[in-house]
């Protein structure tokens, strides 16, 4: 059993290295990706019984190269085949302990490629999970609650779209913007997993996978402040995973969570990463969000939270990345410092903001602040309005319960 798990972990870890090596050597990202998936399947069925080969990476590269060459021979036109055969010199796999500079660049290049701006968000997520994360199409489909055929189509379409894209790191002029997309994709994968309520294993896998990918991105670019910030944000947020829902799947707000059950090791790791990076890298939105999460994580209770510092951080975040959602969260923090009326007056700035026009969160936050202000009838109205607008079942139940408690 544990041997199986080790094989699975090893394969996921090797996937981007093998795919990167193959793509760098042969081009044809789409065909390489298919070939690597086949090699992974072969390994997953053979290794647990036959044992892991001495050089698993080399084994995978050899098997995948063979499949790729077969595929190219079988499918391509004569002219194309002949021009390619000339370059079929066997790809020598370095020993597993050889210098990994090339692997490092390949994995990073692969990550940039899977988060290519020409792909839709769902395609970026799916392709990253498969090509960099080493998940199977079936696993990804289960995590997103769509049929496997649908997910397979998304992945194959994304690969088609990337046909002809060069397998290189983005040029320096585009680098920062492209890295933003990579971070956003990892953030979305994390959210997909984290936001789902209840003990749904497949979704939890997604959270772990996002953290694993962020860790590997952090290893590849240890000096990037925002990758570190994102990893810290994920760890700090994930530390509350077990306490954010009750046994019935109902949401438990931050203020009411059992803080003794927060995962200390995640918190410590997140805080350490953040402390280190904030002292030496330019500040960015992920670091600020992580810093806010760290203040919550280290507070013994909601009342003993450094709300003043949180308000200050939201001010910084609002300047770095202005967004009505930031204002919403800021209003809650302001209410904790200066009282609910101050929070409510901040919310009034958002009235008429089209980006929130149909969003339930504005009503939900207003309801919370009205409740704090003692306006029970108005709070109840606002909770019910928010409950009607949300498309999330657990949130709807939570909002209806709050309204009922005021009824």
């Amino acid at each position: 059993m544990s041997a199986d798990l080790n094989v699975e972990d090893l394969l996921r870890q090797l996937t981007p290295q093998v795919l990167g090596a193959l793509t760098r050597r042969y081009g044809h990202f789409d065909l390489c990706e298919d070939a690597v998936q086949e090699a992974l399947l072969a390994a997953a069925s053979q290794w647990p019984a036959a044992g892991v080969p001495d050089n698993p990476r080399g084994w995978l590269i050899t098997v995948a190269s063979r499949r790729l060459v077969d595929e190219l021979r079988a499918s391509s036109a004569r002219a194309r085949r002949e021009s390619l055969t000339a370059s079929y010199a066997p790809l020598l796999a370095p020993a597993a302990d050889a210098s990994s500079d090339a692997d490092r660049d390949d994995t990073l290049t692969l990550l940039f490629l899977c988060c290519h701006p020409s792909l839709s968000e769902p395609s970026q997520l799916a392709l990253t999970l498969r090509a960099v994360g080493g998940l199977t199409t079936a696993e990804i489909a289960r995590a997103f609650f769509v049929p496997e055929a649908t997910m397979a189509q998304r992945i194959s379409r994304a690969k088609q779209r990337l046909r002809g894209a060069s397998f290189e790191l983005p040029p320096s002029a585009e680098y920062a913007a492209r890295l933003d997309v990579v971070l956003h994709v990892l953030y979305l994968i994390f959210n997909e997993g984290y936001m789902s309520s209840g003990p749904d294993l497949h979704r939890g896998d997604l959270t772990r996978e996002a953290i694993r990918l962020a860790r590997s991105a952090h290893r590849l670019l240890p000096d990037d402040g925002e990758i570190t910030g994102l990893l810290a944000l994920m760890l700090l947020t994930d530390s509350r995973r077990l306490t954010r829902t009750g046994p019935d799947g109902g949401l438990i707000p931050l203020a009411d969570q059992d803080r003794s059950r927060w995962d200390r090791s995640s918190i410590d790791e997140g805080v350490a990463l953040l402390g280190d990076v904030m002292s030496r890298a330019p500040l960015g939105p992920y670091q600020v969000q992580a810093a806010i999460a760290a203040l919550h994580a280290e507070a013994p209770s909601s009342a003993d939270t450094d709300w003043r510092q949180i308000v200050a951080l939201y001010n910084v975040l609002g300047r770095l990345a202005p967004n009505p959602m930031v204002t919403l969260n800021q209003a809650v923090a302001v209410a904790m410092v200066d009282g609910p009326d101050a929070g409510l007056s901040l919310l009034r700035q958002l009235d008429g903001d089209d980006r929130l026009a149909e969003h339930h969160r504005l009503d939900a936050v207003r309801a919370h602040l009205l409740e704090l202000a003692g306006s029970r009838a108005a709070a109840r109205e606002a909770y019910l309005a928010a409950a009607r607008r949300t498309t999330s079942r657990p949130e709807q139940r939570y909002l209806q319960d709050r309204a009922a408690a005021l009824g």
Partner: protein, 120 residues
């Protein structure tokens, strides 16, 4: 985000269409289905058999009462449904607008409630 697209139509009105017209509608539907599968947006969907085969079930005082015919009596009925996974609500509406029944009757676009919930 997933959406349920309810197809409202009137089967008997189909009977009055010419064969060409009917075949045209079916071809349009086939094309849209193929496109949705190609784009990776298709999650599921089925057409429904004739409304005359509908039974409505109510339980009153623990006793099931079964009547023939749909719950809502109307000239138009639900003729089928699609589930799509789209990036935006605008895209779901666009798919609905392209469905032929939208020209004759109507398509209804309903967001599907999900189990995800943000931190409160």
């Amino acid at each position: 985000m997933k959406y349920l697209l309810l197809i409202h139509n009137n089967f008997s009105a189909y009977d009055e269409m010419s064969e060409d017209e009917r075949n045209g509608v079916f071809a349009e539907v086939e094309k849209i289905m193929e496109d949705l599968k190609q784009s990776g947006e298709f999650v599921g969907g089925q057409g429904l058999a004739d409304v005359s085969l509908t039974k409505t079930v109510r339980v009153r005082d623990g006793v099931p009462i079964i009547t023939d015919g749909p719950y809502v009596e109307a000239k138009e009925h639900m003729g089928g449904y699609l589930i799509v996974d789209c990036e935006t609500p605008e895209r779901a509406v666009e798919i609905a607008a392209g469905w032929p029944d939208a020209r004759y009757w109507a398509m209804e676009v309903r967001p599907i409630i999900h189990t995800a919930g943000v931190d409160m």
